[in-house]
Symmetry: D2
Subunit: 315 residues, 4 copies
C-alpha cells in the first residue's frame, strides 16, 4: 500500500541547487519521495502544518552569520511543529554574472542576505561601494540576473553553472573556507524519538520580566543540572524594543533526566517556553556528563526522597 | 490497654528545672507520661534509638550562642532519628552561690558553656578575671556547688532556688533579655507528618570537595527553587581542619514540591545528605511563596513535560 | 577658520529619504554639514576610519527584526570606532505609486525585503495576489517607479513624498504600528563624553572557552555590580559553529563606578572585550540604582580599604 | 633602651602548660618576653586593647570541635584588634596520676570538659565506669591531683610532666590522632604586614537582610574574584533568632588584588564588615591562583579602562 501524498512529500527552500536541497539529500527517508521546492521558511512550515508535506528542511544557523532569524521567528510563533533531525552542509560561494560582464561592471549585487554577509570581507576588498538587493535564496539570486536588470551580479553556490548560463567572476569568495550551515528537518508535533546518546534539544523561552539578572536566573536552571548549551540567541519578541525571547540548544535529550529536570525548572520560571524537539546531533558527538548529572543520580535521588517520606530506616 | 513503657517515656536533659524540661512541658503528648532526665544529648538520643524512650527533647540553637554543637554533631552521626517538633523557651539567668558567699568572694564559676557565653558581658563587667568550669546542665552547675569546692558560684535558671538552698548574688545577668533557646523533639525515623502550612525542614549536608565556589553551588540548589534558609551553620567533619558539614533549616515541608525538588538537587550534588525531618515551626509563621514556586507550578510543569514527550499538540 | 572636510561630513545609508537619514536629521551637530549617502554599513564605517567623515549613522537594532547583524559584526571586527549617540526612528510605511494609479491597479510592488516583510499582513489582506521586486533600499524602491515600468507601486517611508512626486495609496501599512529602529552615531575613538545620568554603554565580549556555565559567569560580572543589561545578542565569531561573541548594552556610563567595576571584571574574565562607547540614551530614561551600587558606595569602600591597609583605628 | 612593659608582655590562656602556651612558644618575637597567663579570651583581648600586652594568643578553631565561639564573638564585638599570626598545635592527651598510681586504681578523672569529650572513646574502652570532675583548663586538671584527693587521674597535655611530678598512665588517648587546634596571635590595629605569598585574610560580615539568596549573593563576591574560602562559620548576632554574622577566612592577603577587590565588593554589599587581618598561614601553603585572578590581570584591566576613558586608539 503506498504512502499517502503527505507521507511522500518533503518541502525545502528551492529551487533545485540550493544548499537546503543538499541538506535534504542527506535524509535517507526522503530518498525516492517528492521534494517540494518552496519560496520561504513560512511556506515550508505551512506545508507541514497543513498536511501538504510530511516534513520540511530549513536552515537554522550558519557558522558565519548566526541564527537564521526568519526560521527562529517562525518556530517561535507557529505552533504544532517538531524538529526531528539536524544536518550540516559545507557552504561556499561564487560571484556570477550574465555572460560578458566583468568585475569592473558590477555595481549592484543580488544575494541572499546570509550569503551576502558571509562574503562581506571579499566584497569590502573587491567591490567596496556596491549596492545589495536581497534575494529569497542563493539560486533565486542567480536566476534574478535574467529576470530584471537591477543587479549586475549574484552570489551563488558553486554548482549554479550547471543550471544557468552564467560567467563566474570570482570563486571562493566566502570569508570562511570552513563555513557550514546547520539545517533542521521539521515535522508536525509527534512523540519524541528515542535517545541515541548524541542528542540535542531545542527550545525557545521568554523571561518573566525585565528585572536585572533574569537571564542569569534562567541560565542557572541549566547550570544547576549540568546541562550545557550549544547555542543561545536572543530574538526580539517584536512588541517593543528591549523584550527578547531566547533560542537555546541544549546538549542532551528530553528523556535524559538532567534535561527533563532543567525543562521543568525552565517551565516554572518562564512565562512562555516552546519545546522544539529532541533529535540526533548531526556531528554525532556525545556530551560528557559528570556522574552527578547522569540518569542514575536522578533516579537514586527520587528513591531516596520516597524513602524519607515513608520513614524508611536507611534514610 | 496501656502504652508500652517506651511509648510512655520522654527523655530530656535534666535534672528537673532545666530549660529543656520547660520545653518538654510544652508537648501535649508528653503530659502524664514518664519524663526521664539524662546527662547529655548523646544519652537522650541513645534512649530513643535503643527504645527506652519514644522521643527526646534536646536544645538545638540559642539566639545568643548559636547552634548547639553537641546536638548538631550527634544528629550528624547517629542514624535513625527524626525531628518531629520545635519548641521555644525564653532564657534568663541568675548567679547563685552557697549561702554566705558574696560577689567579692567569687573566683571560679560553674556554668553550662551555653549559659556562660550568654552572660559574658555581665561577667566581663562584674567578674573580669574569673575562672570557668563547664557544667553538663544549668541545674548541674548549681548542684555542683554542694558536691565539690572548686567553684564559688554558678549560673542557673531563675527557678533554681525552688530546688536548692542557694543565695542569688545577681539576677538577669544574661546579655540579651530577649534570649530564646530553640529545642527539638526527636523520635525514631518514621513517616513524615502532614503539612501544616507552617513547617520547617532540617538537613545536614557535606560538599563534594573543597573547590572554590562549592558552597555557592550547594546554596543555588535552594535559591533556584525559591526555598529560603532560616539557618545555616558549618560544623567541622572532624577528620581534618577545613572540612565542614552544613546544618541547614529550610522554610517548608518535604511534601512541598519546591522543598522536595531542592532536596533532590541537593542529594545529587552532595555526597552525604542527612534528612532530619519536616515538622511544624514553633513560631507558626507561614512563609511567603511566589507563585512560580507553589505546588501548582510543579505539577503543571510535570504535566507539560509529559505532554511534550507524548507529542501532544498543545505542546 | 572653517572645519576640515572631515569635520563637515556625516555618512549614512542613503539615498536621501531613508530612515537612516531621518535618524541623522535628529543630530544637532550634523545640521548644515555635508551628508554623504553610502551603500552599506562597511562603507559608512570605512568613511569614519579613513577620515572622509567625522561620523556615520547606522542602524543597529529593529524592534521587529532584531539586531542588525552587519552592523554588529562590523563593530566587532573594525577597530578604532566609538558610538557617540543613539537615535530612535519610528518605522512606518506607505504604499506609493505614480500619480493617477489606484490600489486596484497594483499588481507588482517594489520594496526592500525587510520593509516588505514588515508589511506582510497588510499585503496579504489587501493585495493578496501581488508580485514583488526587491530593492536595495526603501527609497530606491520608490525611485524605481520612475526608472522602469515593472512595478506599479512601492513601499516607502512616509516622508518619501517630499522627494518624489508620488501618490500615497495607503498609509500605516506596517504590521506593527509601534515599530522602531534604533540607530547609533559612530565616530573614531575619542575620550568618552561626560555623563548625563541617562546613559548606555555598549560592549562586545567573547567567552574564555566553551565550558558549561561560562555565559552565566560572564553575566555575574554585571549582576554582582547591579548593572542591568538592556540588550544581549549572540553573534557567531565565524570560525566554527558554536563559538559566539556577545553584543551587550548596559544601563549606565563607563564613568559610573558600578559600570567601570563591571567592565574591569569583564576584562579579566573575557579574552576579548570591545568597548563600543558610553553615550546618552535616546529615550532619556534614568536607570534606578540601589544605594549599594551608587558611586558613593564605591568611593566609601575604597576609603575603607585604604584605612584597613594603613591600620587606621576605625577599621 | 628597654621595651615598654606593654612591648614586653604577651597574654595567653594559662596556666603554664596549656596548648595555648605551646602556641605562644612558636612565636619568635615572644621569646624572652613576659608571658601573662589569663583566664579567658575576653581578658586576653582586654589586655591588648588596654595596653597591658602587645599581643594575645587565643584558640580560634579546633579540628574536632569547630570554631571557638567565645573567640569568634569577642573578635566580632571588640573593635581595634588585628590578627597578626596563625599557629597550629597538635592536640593530644595523656592520662596522668600521682606517682605510684596504676590504671587499675583510677576511679575518678579530673579533666577539662573539651579534653574529656575528645578522649571519650579511649575512656569508654579502658575505664568504662569512671567518674568525671570538670576542670577549668587542661593544666588545672593535672594540678588538682595535688590539691584534693577527689580525683585519681587527670587528662593533660603531653608536656605536663615538665611542670609536675606525675606518672603517665597512658599516652595518645585522644580519639583523633590528627586533632589540631588553630590559634591566632592578636595585636591592636596596625598597618597590615607584607605579603608572604602564603597568607590568609579573616573577616566577619553580616547580610543586609534576611531575603532568600542573600548568603549566595555574598559568596558570589568571592567567587567572581576567584577568592577561595578556607573557613565559613555562622554565628548568631544575638539580638533575635535567625540573624547571623559569618566568620570567614579567605585564601590570600588584602594586598592581593583579587582579595582587595572582593573586600570592596563585600563592603558595598554588607552593612557590617569587620576586617580581622591578613597574616601568614601556619601551614605555609600557597594558594593556586588562575591567571585571570592574578595581580597582573587587575592592573592590566585598570590600564585598559583608563585607556578607554581617555580615548586611546588601542581600545
Amino acid at each position: 500500500m503506498p504512502d499517502s501524498p503527505r507521507e511522500q512529500t518533503y518541502s525545502y527552500l528551492g529551487p533545485a541547487g540550493t544548499f537546503t536541497e543538499a541538506a535534504l539529500a542527506q535524509v535517507p527517508e526522503a530518498q525516492g519521495k517528492t521534494w517540494r521546492a518552496v519560496n520561504n521558511v513560512g511556506e515550508a512550515l505551512g506545508d507541514v502544518l497543513e498536511g501538504r508535506s510530511v516534513a520540511a528542511m530549513i536552515a537554522i544557523e550558519n557558522s558565519v552569520d548566526g541564527g537564521v532569524s526568519a526560521t527562529q521567528d517562525a518556530l517561535a510563533t507557529m505552533t504544532g511543529l517538531r524538529i526531528v533531525g539536524e544536518y550540516l552542509v559545507s557552504v561556499n560561494f561564487v560571484l556570477v554574472a550574465r555572460p560578458g560582464t566583468t568585475l569592473a561592471d558590477v555595481r549592484v549585487i543580488n544575494a541572499h542576505p546570509v550569503a551576502y554577509a558571509q562574503c562581506s570581507r571579499w566584497l569590502g576588498a573587491n567591490l567596496a561601494s556596491h549596492g545589495h538587493i536581497p534575494a529569497t535564496s542563493n539560486v533565486a539570486a542567480a536566476a534574478s540576473l535574467f529576470e530584471n536588470a537591477q543587479a549586475d551580479a549574484a552570489i551563488a553556490p558553486p554548482g549554479i553553472t550547471a543550471h544557468y548560463d552564467l560567467d563566474v567572476l570570482a570563486e571562493g569568495i566566502g570569508d570562511n573556507p570552513n563555513a557550514v550551515t546547520r539545517f533542521v528537518l521539521v515535522s508536525r508535533t509527534a512523540p519524541v524519538p528515542e535517545r541515541t546518546g548524541s542528542d540535542k534539544t531545542s527550545i525557545i523561552a521568554e523571561l518573566p520580566d525585565n528585572k536585572a539578572g533574569r537571564l542569569l536566573e534562567m541560565l542557572e536552571q541549566f547550570a544547576t543540572r549540568g546541562v550545557n548549551m550549544s547555542l543561545i540567541e536572543s530574538r526580539p519578541i517584536g512588541d517593543e524594543l528591549g523584550r527578547y525571547r531566547f533560542v537555546i540548544d541544549l546538549e542532551g535529550h528530553i528523556l535524559d533526566e538532567r534535561v527533563a529536570d532543567a525543562l521543568l525548572g525552565l517551565k516554572r520560571f518562564s512565562p512562555n517556553v516552546i519545546f522544539l524537539g529532541s533529535y540526533p546531533r548531526a556531528d554525532r558527538a556525545r556530551p560528557t556528563v559528570t556522574p552527578r548529572y547522569e540518569d542514575a543520580a536522578f533516579t537514586d535521588a527520587r528513591d531516596w526522597l520516597r524513602g524519607l517520606i515513608a520513614g524508611e530506616p536507611a534514610a
